[in-house]
Point group: D2
């Protein structure tokens, strides 16, 4: 039985409790939050949680707690995570893992030294849609990967502490990193803040991988319509992943282009288009956070790396950090 | 009566003839093309065209021809255009106007010196949709302009001589320049070529205007679905222009966000969302090229600048040129 | 303070409790259900409900209960409703009000005699979308009403006791009756049962009003896609109400047709089409059941007829009954 | 070489000429139309047509003409068709084949007696979409057929001589008859005329086949949006055919419902839902009329029945006739 303690109980907190309690071999026994009313709300929903406290130390140092979930604002992730590891607790961190790539590296090292599980809650990786896309890519059906293009825009949910890159792009960057499994070479990002608080609400991120693979992400809090659409193009097939669709979220197009060298003129190429069926595979509807909780518990029990481990968390933070750096320098290309 | 001569008769040629012939005070009397079969095809469609020739000089120097339309590949635009002006002919150039911004400047100067009309066929500016959007912006209904975001992707029509920026982006850049009426400060672009011919088929262009206005364009020949969607966001209203929609191409959302300073804490801001009606105004269905032809003829007759004059052509080429330069340097920011 | 008792606590039960408790001047003090586990579930959610019983009589006869909500299967609506009225309780009945039009009439009479409020929970009437459409029709903007066409199809939720007409059509019929405010003259319905249980899962209902107004409803449990779309056509404007759309549920088209008599030939008519703007008005997002609860409580307190009174309930049942009768007779037209 | 003569050259005429001329073994040598300007228009488009006449007799009696296409208003189909057959000409008739089912029977008999090909231009049967659906049904993939539901509505193209049933429903009825291959048992139809000319612009047709198969068609000239959507439901799979979609017109849903008898309680049934992949097969884009022309010519040459023969034409007319009869009698069920 893995006893879980959660630090930070905002919007996501009750979902974490519910899904860990649904695990056969785990349960939440303690939660801390600075806000009295959140603790009260939680105690009504889950009267069985033993420790409800405003002091995160009570959770971090509690002897019966085996594993800690950090669900606080990103700036506090690193110190809280370090303390958890140093107290010998396994660690699940909300995304983005840390505020800097360097902090992520330190956490990874510490967890390794201590032999503890370190996992990041990249929830989207556990959705039926992304798992299906990963399966298609792994099967080789897409062929060589050509580009990853993602748009996540909507009106609303302006954050007060982080810009739209740190708020929305972790979703797309974690999906991109998970699907492409490549190291980015360079990043450029542009964006603007339209209000006095100087927090960017509109941003475009280009991620250059080994040519000819490119990634691009458009995140925006100031759009009249809700769009969550990703194109993933391969040499053999192409995928449209539309998360706003209630069903048929993933569409696999048997479409492509081929350049064929004409014999005589070596530099004149013939284009051939290919269009075939479109398949929208059945997507499993299991709640993603349910699988996140199970993966965390299983990776602790089985002493193995989780699917979204510290390295995955680092990869995402490194891209976000570089994107932010580029954005602040007017789009300057940042080499990695 | 304005007698028109057309140089270059590809896909667009017959449309040009048809629409100029539809003008009361103009008509096409000569067409040149290097390809015999195009001339034959045209003569069957329009048996009344007097001069059909493989030699563009016959058109450029013909005494009865008052105005020339250049509809050849972009690399030939400048020399042909110069010769037309030097022969005292009014000039309508297909987009993009020239291969470099410098060439565009020379043409503008020459036309001014000679007192001749110089116009560029930025067809989209004359569509009912763009005219309606322009009207809304001019009325002040959008408020301050926040961003212009355009996506034009599809499978197909790979070009052999120019990349996707020179092929597709002129549409978006001309619309953006026309609607925003601002000078870009810097440009960065990324993109990739996936085939041996090294011609980029996927590109992203960021256009930085005076803060906080930004433009962004995604053009792509290698997408499984056809998208032609533009978001134009203002402080008061937002527009979605979807050119793939058969009707309701323009949707005006009475939506917005306001940041309100809370009295006591000067740096804590309160976000207020506003959502109201959405209006899809009736769009006039007149063929855009019909209005292009009329504007060219009228601006000659009335001795006035056309709506899409040499300057508009220059503005577009300058952005394309800088975008291409940035693309070739891995996304380096190009200051203008 | 109005004390509410609820009889029947299925899927809808907890929503009823929540929304009545949200009223300032009302609260649920008793609930009965035959199923022990539903009562337990409710007691966990709402520990303050005083009476939780398997015996509906406890609710029907309780001195402190002022008003009763009947949320049981339709066959039991009439006897339970009658007993409630006879015990001097105000009455809110789930839709469809009763299993026969005659039963509805008896309830209406009894409530009148006793001076009690009788209301039917036609929830859709209280949605922002239907209220907006009603407002548009009342304003005269649609002109004369031409037809009402509604499609409500999906895969699933096969009922075991009633067919698709009694299950899904109450929604459309109640909306139609509320919007058109006309007495139907005749009804014909066709449909089929595809499984051994002989319960029709596919049905088409035509409702003939005074010419030239017609209503038509297609309800179906066996469709691969979810459709909930209603067309309401008037002589001046037309409405599309698409309840599956997350936003822009109501679209008002300024479109129409006019027949104009040519002077000389009296029976030759000229058709003129008119197309204008499309407006998607902002729809209020208040939960409909919240307004249902408030309307019930207010109509009791203010001793006035509720918006969806017994007569509205009768109108719906009469159409459903006739449609079912026609269906069973192979589509025979039933005159009303 | 089959020499074709066409009687009636309205909107469809030039398409017929173009597609017959595209056949290797056929060509149009004569066309008649009462309107001088249509003949002139055609002579400009196709200067090689030898006979252009206002007198249909010239076509019907011309020795060099082997086969006649009747593309006149429906009321004239029968007399013109009869005269063609009696003059020994093969016959292609525009849809609907005739104004009455009886006329269709006479034509079928006459053609058989004379050994001539009689075909009806049910164009939709030859589209890639309908051919693909037919292939899926024939393969048994859909299982038993449950229902056919078609909606064809739009604003516009009011006809002056026939109502919306005779104008639009031939498309849906011909597709339904072709796909289901069943004899209808009874028909009921409702509809209204909203203008003084008393021509119905809104109609609903129910077609009862052997239980539990039903067909339903909604045709409407007075709708604010264009819909051309057909649902075809089988026991194993379901199809949505959306002709307004530019691509992915046909979607095959691997979805279904099964009723399973629980052992003990014989009349209590358990519903099981099944949802799987959705496949949008590639649709061939060959112009349907091209295949119509080829089928007519081939069936003459090969002395075989065409795919859409006189019987298919009769089947469609019989349903239209009964639907109209029902409509005029207020929805009375017509037994066939």
């Amino acid at each position: 039985m893995i006893n879980i303690g959660i630090i930070g109980c905002g919007y996501w907190g009750p979902n974490l409790v519910r899904n860990f309690n649904a695990c056969d071999t785990a349960g939440v026994i303690g939660v801390s939050d600075l806000r009295e009313e959140r603790l009260k709300f939680l105690s009504r929903l889950y009267p069985n949680i033993k420790i409800l406290t405003k002091d995160s130390d009570e959770i971090l140092h509690h002897n019966n707690i085996d594993a800690i979930v950090i669900a606080t604002p990103v700036l506090t992730h690193f110190p809280l995570g370090m303390e958890a590891l140093e107290n010998g607790k396994h660690l699940l961190m909300e995304k983005p893992m840390t505020a800097t790539a360097e902090q992520a590296e330190v956490l990874i090292e510490t967890a390794e030294k201590k032999g503890l599980t370190l996992m990041v809650d990249h929830t989207f990786i556990y959705t039926g849609a992304v798992r299906k896309i990963k399966e298609v890519i792994n099967s080789g059906d897409l062929g060589d990967l050509y580009y990853f293009d993602s748009v996540r825009v909507n009106l609303g949910l302006f954050q007060h502490d982080v810009n739209v890159i740190w708020d929305l792009a972790p979703h797309d960057v974690s999906i991109m990193d998970h699907l492409l499994q490549q190291r980015p070479k360079a990043i450029s990002a542009t964006g603007v803040a339209h209000f006095e608080n100087k927090i960017e609400n509109t941003a475009y991120i280009s991620v250059m991988y080994d040519s000819p693979l490119i990634g691009h992400i458009h995140v925006n809090w100031l759009a009249p319509v809700k769009v969550r659409k990703t194109l993933i193009c391969g040499s053999k097939k192409m995928i449209v992943y539309d998360d706003v669709e209630p069903s048929e979220k993933v569409k696999i197009y048997n479409k492509g282009v081929e350049y064929i060298k004409k014999r005589e003129e070596a530099y004149d190429l013939l284009v051939q288009y290919r269009t075939g069926d479109m398949l929208a595979p059945r997507i499993e509807m299991t709640e993603a956070l349910n699988l996140v909780a199970a993966e965390f518990v299983d990776s602790i029990t089985q002493r193995r790396k989780p699917l979204t481990d510290g390295q995955a968390g680092y990869n995402v933070v490194r891209i976000l950090e570089a994107a932010n750096q580029s954005l602040r320098q007017g789009g300057k290309v940042i080499r990695l």
